[in-house]
C-alpha cells in the first residue's frame, strides 16, 4: 500500500476553486500531485454521470469543488451540486463504494490554502481507503 499512488479527479468551478488552485500555485504552496483538475464553468455543470464514469474507469477518488453556499457566481448552482452529490453519495454507498471517495468542498477564490489542504487531506483519505476495485 506504501506505493499506492491514487488517481484523483478534481472538478473545479472556474470562478472559485479553479482560481483557488491558481492562487495555491501563485503562492508556491505544495500539494500532493496525484490529481488533475477539470475546469467547468460552475460546479452545477457536474453531472453525476461524470463521477460514476470516473469511478468506473478506475478513479480512486473524485473531488467536487464549488463556491461557498450563497456565493455561487451563477446564483445557486452550488446548491444544485450539493443536492446531486448528497444523493449520489447515498447511491455510491449502495454500490459498495465508500462515500469518502467522493468529496464535495466549497473553496473560494481566496482560499488557496484550503485548496491544498483539501487536496492533501482527500488524497490522504484515499490512500487509507486503498485503490478502488477495477470493473470486472
Amino acid at each position: 500500500m506504501q506505493d499506492f499512488e491514487p488517481n484523483v479527479v478534481v472538478f473545479c468551478c472556474r470562478w472559485c476553486s479553479y482560481a483557488a488552485a491558481d492562487l495555491a500555485g501563485t503562492s508556491r504552496m505544495t500539494a500532493n500531485p496525484q490529481f488533475v483538475v477539470i475546469r467547468t464553468m460552475c460546479s452545477g455543470r457536474i453531472d453525476p454521470e461524470f463521477i460514476l464514469d470516473a469511478f468506473a474507469k478506475g478513479a480512486d477518488g473524485v473531488l467536487v469543488t464549488g463556491c461557498h453556499p450563497g456565493d455561487c457566481h451563477y446564483v445557486n448552482g452550488n446548491y444544485k451540486t450539493r443536492r446531486r452529490m448528497l444523493l449520489l453519495e447515498e447511491v455510491l454507498e449502495q454500490f459498495g463504494i465508500d462515500r469518502k471517495r467522493l468529496r464535495c468542498e466549497w473553496i473560494s477564490a481566496s482560499e488557496g490554502g484550503k485548496f491544498v489542504k483539501t487536496i492533501d487531506e482527500f488524497i490522504g483519505t484515499i490512500k487509507k481507503l486503498g485503490p478502488i476495485d477495477g470493473i470486472k
Binding site: D47, P48, E49, I51, L52, D53, F55, A56, P69, G70, N76, Y79, K80, R82, R83, R84, L86, L87, L88, E90, V91, Q94, F95, G96, I97, I132, D133, I135, K136
Partner: protein, 324 residues
C-alpha cells in the same frame, strides 16, 4: 430465397417477453406464415442439439430475452450468436440486465446464503448449497455455474439490435418484424424504439407545472395518486424524463409512475445517474442558503433505496455494473 429463419430463446427473465410474443394475438399467425421458427423452446419442441447441428449463420434472426446469469445461458447465447446473422436483445433483461440484474447489489455467496439458509421458511442444518458437480447414488450430476454477476446480453455476445421494454410493447415488436421482413432495419446497434423520453408522449404532460419542484417525496402507495396530474408534480418519483418512450405509456395509463424499463435515452449513458441528477435538481429545498447538509440529507433520505429506484432495470448495463 426461402422464408427467413427465426429463433427465440429465454435466458434469465420472468418469461414475460415470451408472453409478449404470444400477445401479438392474431398477428402471430402472420408471423408464422412469414417466417420459419427454427428454435423456440418455450413453445415448440427443439433440443439444443438441433441448434448445434445448424451451420454458421443459418438462423436469420435470434430474439434472445433475459439477462445472462448462468453458464448455460452464456453457452446458449454464444451458440445462437454463432448460428445467427442477426441477434436482437429482446426486452429489458437482455437489453439492460433488467430486474434479475438487481442481484448485482449482492454477491453470489450472499444470495445463496439468503435463499438456501436464512430465509425463515428454509431449514438447512447441513448447509447444503448448489454445487456445479455432485454425486447421487454413484451418478455424477452437473449443474450450470451460477455467476457472481448478472450481465446484459451485449456484455456476453455481440448484439445487433435492442428491443426494449418489460416486456416490449406489441407495436414495437411488430414494427421490428416489419423492418426485418422489409429489410429496413436501421444501423446496427440501434435501439428499436423512439429516441425521445417518455414525457414526449406522456398523457399527463399538460398537467406539468412550469417549474417542477418536489418538496416532499412520496411513494405511490402513500398517497392517492391523481390520475390527471404529472406524478412528479405530486411528489412521486417518475422516471419518465430519463426513460425512452415507445412503451405505450401502460404504467401511466394505469395510474402508476414510470419505473424506467425502456432504459436510458440515446444521449444518456447511465440511466441511474441521470435519474439521480434530475431528481436532485428538482428537489424543492426552501431557503437553501440557511439549510445545512444534514437538512438536505433528510429530504434525500425520503427516497427509499435510491440505487434500486434509479437502476431498477439497468444495473448490469450501468457504468458501475455491480456492487463492489
Amino acid at each position: 430465397m426461402g422464408k427467413p429463419k427465426f429463433a427465440f430463446y429465454w435466458c434469465a427473465s420472468c418469461g414475460g417477453c415470451e408472453e409478449a410474443v404470444i400477445d401479438l394475438n392474431e398477428k402471430i399467425l402472420d408471423l408464422t406464415a412469414a417466417v420459419d421458427i427454427v428454435f423456440w423452446p418455450v413453445a415448440l419442441d427443439f433440443k439444443y442439439a438441433d441448434v448445434r447441428s445448424m451451420g454458421k449463420g443459418e438462423i436469420d434472426v435470434s430474439f434472445i430475452n433475459g439477462a445472462i446469469r448462468s453458464s448455460e445461458q452464456r453457452e446458449m447465447a454464444e451458440l445462437l450468436s454463432k448460428k445467427s446473422k442477426t441477434v436482437i436483445a429482446f426486452g429489458s433483461c437482455a437489453h439492460l440486465g433488467g430486474i434479475p440484474g438487481l442481484a448485482n447489489f449482492w454477491r453470489r455467496k450472499d444470495i445463496f446464503e439468503r435463499v438456501y439458509e436464512s430465509v425463515p421458511t428454509v431449514k438447512n442444518p447441513e448447509h447444503i448449497l448448489p454445487k456445479m458437480e455432485s454425486k447421487v447414488d454413484g451418478y455424477k450430476l452437473n449443474l450450470p455455474e451460477f455467476y457472481d454477476t448478472v450481465s446484459a446480453l451485449d456484455q456476453v455476445i455481440p448484439v445487433d439490435y435492442y428491443l426494449p421494454g418489460c416486456p416490449p410493447a406489441p407495436e414495437l415488436i411488430t414494427d421490428a418484424i416489419d423492418a426485418i421482413l422489409k429489410n429496413k432495419l436501421p444501423k446496427k446497434g440501434s435501439v428499436l424504439a423512439p429516441d425521445k423520453a417518455l414525457c414526449d408522449t406522456c398523457p399527463l404532460a399538460d398537467s406539468k407545472p412550469d417549474k417542477l419542484s418536489i418538496k416532499e417525496i412520496k411513494r405511490p402507495h402513500e398517497i392517492k395518486l391523481d390520475p390527471e396530474k404529472c406524478f412528479l408534480a405530486q411528489g412521486v418519483i417518475c422516471l419518465g424524463p430519463v426513460t425512452r418512450s415507445g412503451c405505450g405509456e401502460c404504467c401511466i395509463n394505469a395510474n402508476m409512475p414510470c419505473r424506467g424499463c425502456m432504459g436510458p435515452t440515446k444521449a444518456a449513458i447511465d440511466q441511474g445517474a441521470k435519474g439521480i441528477s434530475f431528481i436532485a435538481s428538482i428537489l424543492g429545498v426552501e431557503d437553501e442558503e440557511n439549510t445545512s447538509d444534514e437538512d438536505v440529507r433528510d429530504l434525500i433520505k425520503q427516497i427509499v433505496d435510491p440505487a434500486g429506484t434509479f437502476y431498477r432495470f439497468s444495473l448490469p448495463y450501468s457504468l458501475l455494473k455491480r456492487k463492489r
